[in-house]
């Protein structure tokens, strides 16, 4: 299908699949931001996931807040249901900690690796079902585990999107 005849939904689907060429991406960057983008993106992602729960908000490429039995939960792309929407989902994952030079050198070549493991550890948060990386933290040892984002779902749906949030919080 030529770009000229693509609908906005199709463009957003291509964007989510990272199939747009640079001229099309530039156009998206320059154009006024469409208020329809969120629904189009949700539709594109809903078609990508192997489960039926309604996506309320994506938290990462492989992590979503979804509706289940009238409640909002966090679920991975592979289907692992981790916790309630506002809980620390990382604590329901598997985790691999890199805390010495040998561990770091499995990612970074020794000639470039100048991170001091006594000061920083790398925590890899892994989907318990698929083995996909959901997030990678770099923090001082013993630093509490934090999640990067807790949305204000009620305000987002009710005040910004102007529609009822389809779950009870």
């Amino acid at each position: 299908m030529s770009k000229e005849t693509q609908t906005s939904q199709e463009v957003t689907r291509s964007l989510v699949h990272r199939e747009l060429a640079w001229p099309d991406l530039f156009k998206l960057m320059r154009d006024p931001k469409s208020p329809d983008r969120f629904d189009e993106m949700i539709a594109a992602r809903q078609a990508m996931v192997p489960w039926k729960n309604r996506i309320l908000l994506p938290l990462g490429e492989n992590l979503f807040i979804v509706a289940k039995n009238g409640k909002a939960i966090i679920k991975t792309l592979a289907g692992a249901e981790l916790c309630a929407w506002n809980e620390n989902w990382k604590m329901q994952c598997r985790v691999r900690i890199r805390k010495n030079t040998a561990d770091f050198n499995k990612i970074f070549p020794p000639e470039h690796m100048t991170i001091d493991p006594e000061l920083v550890e790398i925590r890899e948060w892994i989907c318990p079902k698929s083995g996909m990386l959901l997030d990678v933290d770099c923090v001082p040892p013993t630093y509490p585990v934090e999640i990067d984002f807790t949305p204000d779902l009620e305000a987002f749906y009710s005040d910004w999107l102007g529609r009822k949030l389809p779950v009870r919080l």
Binding site: M29, G60, L119, M132, L133, D135, D152
Partner: protein, 747 residues
């Protein structure tokens, strides 16, 4: 009809009235309606375009008047128009950090009653690089003029340039090792430096005597003043066309429109909620033999950052929990933090030509007084405030990326890189004393984007127009010749979209017997890490610098032997003796070399950016392109991305990597139980232990998080490693302050 503005108020009364009207109405200057805009949008747009085209075209002309490479070649300047109250109306392209710092400078002048003393008259020139007066650091020099029309100030016109040399103790414009403001060079503290459109002679003599390269500063000042005068002339013509009342009302409507557009854009592209970030730049100076006793310390600055996007479409940053200021030049004051926020807003949210102070009305920063983000010691140095700002606001970029992802605007997601600097000082190839930072770092590039890799050798976070510049310009600027400038293979934050590739430069000293280098990096140095990536992308490895004294390169060249072309190659050759040096260092620590001479070496491996997404989701074609371009090696491609020559084999490898991850990982709850024993006793290194303790000295936030998460009753970290030292804030004059929010433990 446009509102007729009163003319009999003092600037202070106008500023008070403006703030009162916003407080009472929530609209800039109480403008509930945009009368001019609504009546005739096309004329209003023509008015705005007139202002924008003026500032942008004048900026281009200024390049040809300026002297320093920073302006002529590397885009390190900006010029703009401000309301009489000091609010930005129209800004040129350039270093957007100063949209609001100039505004703070004008408000400093107004609130300190300069109208009475030293008077504000037609033709006056004011100058500032003082962080207490809104500036960022001594090299960022602001030049400002009031514009009068029929006896009334109708606007301010201001320009800022980054000076490569500022009279610092070390030599380059930004000092790495000064403990306080008394080593960070020449302060121009919101002063009147000229009258009748001319710089005063005593001011020019002061520059000559207090700077090593005063010609750069002086001619850049003249370029900025010329720019201001050109804009003043252009505004007279604009007023002749549109009318004075239209002009006065129009500049204020532009700001209110900017505020509305900002809120609208936030509500259209972001998601309300709380975003969290942590940066932890590591500072080490105790290994430098010549460090000042006050500065002889190693520590981590922990900066915790909550970003809240409110239901109203406002953005608030809260730094509760951050560690305190100290005797180093990495402190931030309100001015630098506002500057850091502005590089974020102007590049990520307000890039549609309406860059003005309207957005400032919809954002707020809570900067705990006495912390690293709001140093309250009168003698605090901010010369390298960027070493705190760059990681912080790089992380804010990352957090905004999470928001755009959730809303579906993947094309907006972008991350940053740390900045690394090479400072050169001493005597140059012409026999003159000199000092400068090599601003090729202005092309240090950025981290991964939501739709592509980070741009290799692109602009940095602090200047969207930054460029590397010609090597030849830098060879003219100082006593050095490039012997290598290239990308560094296998150096980036891996991810589905990788961070930009690192690159490096290696120089040989030429034409000097007395030159030394200072080398440092913002957050990637001293064993630290810049900040995390997004959605499974890895951070980048750190940086490296090199100096070598008494090197036999010239002998090697005479023997027609290979000389090193990169930092890693030089390090390997120094280690195995192929290159001989009397003394040398290569590694991640801040460095201050001894005196170097003809034929000696120095270099830097600039750091790369963090990655986006799980690396094993990286497209096969992207990996092959990097291989073809020499940005990665086959071994690295296999380890980082599971790459094999066919897509099918790569997928097989990736399945093995996923299985390996599951095998090598443990449930987080299991890790928590084991790690809790360590957390209970605080079994960590000295620097980390002291960091936690220093945070608690400022606030209970991190302690409360720690005790809650680990379900402990007692915080194990008590020794800050420093004396508990109280200092006085400046008194006797107004300076910018941040709102404070008393800490309350989250329920």
């Amino acid at each position: 009809m446009p509102m007729k503005r009163t003319t009999h108020l003092t600037l202070l009364e106008q500023l008070d009235l403006s703030e009162k009207l916003y407080e009472e109405t929530g609209h800039y200057q109480g403008l509930k309606k945009l009368a001019l805009h609504d009546k005739d949008p096309l004329t209003f747009e023509a008015f705005h375009s007139r202002l924008m085209s003026t500032v942008i075209s004048v900026r281009e002309t200024m390049k040809h008047i300026a002297s320093s490479p920073a302006i002529r070649d590397f885009e390190e300047f900006v010029i703009g128009i401000y309301t009489p109250e000091g609010d930005a109306v129209a800004l040129s392209t350039g270093i957007m950090v100063h949209v609001h710092t100039l505004s703070e400078f004008i408000k400093f002048i107004i609130r300190n009653n300069y109208e009475d003393d030293p008077k504000i008259r037609p033709g006056d020139i004011f100058e500032n690089n003082e962080s207490w007066a809104g500036g960022v650091h001594t090299p960022d020099v602001m030049t400002l003029i009031p514009m009068f029309y029929k006896g009334e100030v109708i606007c301010w016109i201001g320009s800022v340039s980054h000076e490569l040399e500022a009279g610092t103790y070390e030599g380059p414009g930004m000092t790495v090792f000064s403990p306080d403001r008394f080593g960070e060079g020449l302060h121009i503290s919101a002063e009147k430096v000229g009258e009748n459109d001319q710089f005063r002679k005593d001011y020019l003599i002061r520059l000559k005597l207090n700077l090593r390269n005063s010609n750069w500063w002086t001619l850049d000042d003249k370029a900025k003043l010329s720019g201001c005068l050109m804009i003043r002339d252009a505004l007279h013509k604009a007023i002749a066309k549109f009318g004075l009342d239209y002009y006065k009302q129009g500049i204020r409507e532009l700001i209110e429109e900017g505020r509305r557009n900002f809120v609208k854009r936030v509500k259209t592209t972001m998601v309300p909620g709380t975003y969290r970030g942590l940066t932890m730049p590591v500072h080490k100076r105790s290994h430098i033999p010549s460090t000042h006793p006050l500065a002889r310390s190693d520590f981590i600055d922990l900066v915790h950052n909550d970003m809240t996007v409110t239901k109203e479409g406002h953005i608030e940053l809260d730094f509760e929990g951050s560690t305190g200021w100290s005797f180093h030049p990495f402190n931030c004051a309100v001015g630098p933090m506002n500057g850091g926020f502005w590089i974020t807003l102007t590049q990520l949210l307000n890039y549609d030509g309406r860059v003005n102070d309207g957005a400032y009305l919809a954002v707020k920063q809570y900067l705990p007084e006495g912390s690293i983000v709001n140093a309250n010691y009168a003698g605090a140095a901010t010369s390298l405030a960027w070493w705190t700002l760059i990681p912080i606001f790089g992380n804010v970029w990352r957090m905004m990326g999470i928001s755009w992802f959730a809303r579906g605007f993947l094309e907006e997601i972008i991350m940053s890189t740390p900045t690394c600097i090479v400072g050169v000082a001493g005597f140059d190839q012409y026999g003159h004393h000199t000092g400068y930072q090599n601003f090729e770092m202005a092309a240090e590039s950025f981290g991964a984007r939501g739709v592509d890799d980070g741009m290799d050798c692109g602009s940095p976070i602090w200047n969207s127009e930054g460029v590397q510049g010609d090597a030849e310009v830098w060879e003219l600027t100082g006593p050095n010749v490039y012997i290598g400038r290239a990308f560094t293979p296998n150096h980036h934050g891996p991810g589905r979209f990788r961070g930009s590739s690192a690159w490096e430069s290696l120089w040989i000293v030429r034409g000097s017997r007395f030159v030394h280098v200072t080398l440092s990096a913002s957050g990637a140095h001293n064993g630290g890490i810049f900040h995390k990536g997004l959605f499974g992308g890895y951070p980048a490895p750190g940086w490296k610098c090199l100096w070598a004294r008494g090197v036999n390169l010239q002998e090697m060249a005479a023997r027609d032997e290979r000389i090193p072309r990169s930092v890693n190659e030089a390090e390997a050759m120094l280690k195995d003796g192929r290159v001989k040096a009397e003394e040398w260092y290569c590694g991640p620590l801040n460095a201050w070399s001894p005196n170097l001479s003809d034929g000696d070496l120095f270099g830097v491996m600039y750091s790369s950016g963090p990655g986006y997404g799980d690396p094993i989701e990286r497209e096969h074609a992207r990996i092959e392109k990097d291989l073809a371009n020499g940005l990665i090696t086959p071994n690295f491609a296999r380890k980082a991305y599971g790459y094999a020559k066919s897509v099918a084999k790569t997928e097989e490898n990736r399945a093995k990597i996923r299985a390996q991850r599951l095998e090598e990982s443990v449930p987080a709850s299991q890790w928590w139980r084991a790690e809790r024993k360590r957390a209970r006793v605080g079994d960590v290194g000295k620097l980390v232990s002291e960091t936690f303790a220093r945070s608690v000295r400022m606030s209970d936030k991190i302690k409360d998080m720690y005790l809650d998460f680990w379900q402990l009753k007692k915080f194990p970290y008590t020794d800050t490693g420093t004396i508990d030292f109280h200092t006085e804030s400046p008194t006797g004059f107004y300076y910018p302050k941040s709102p404070q929010k008393p800490y309350k433990k989250a329920v």
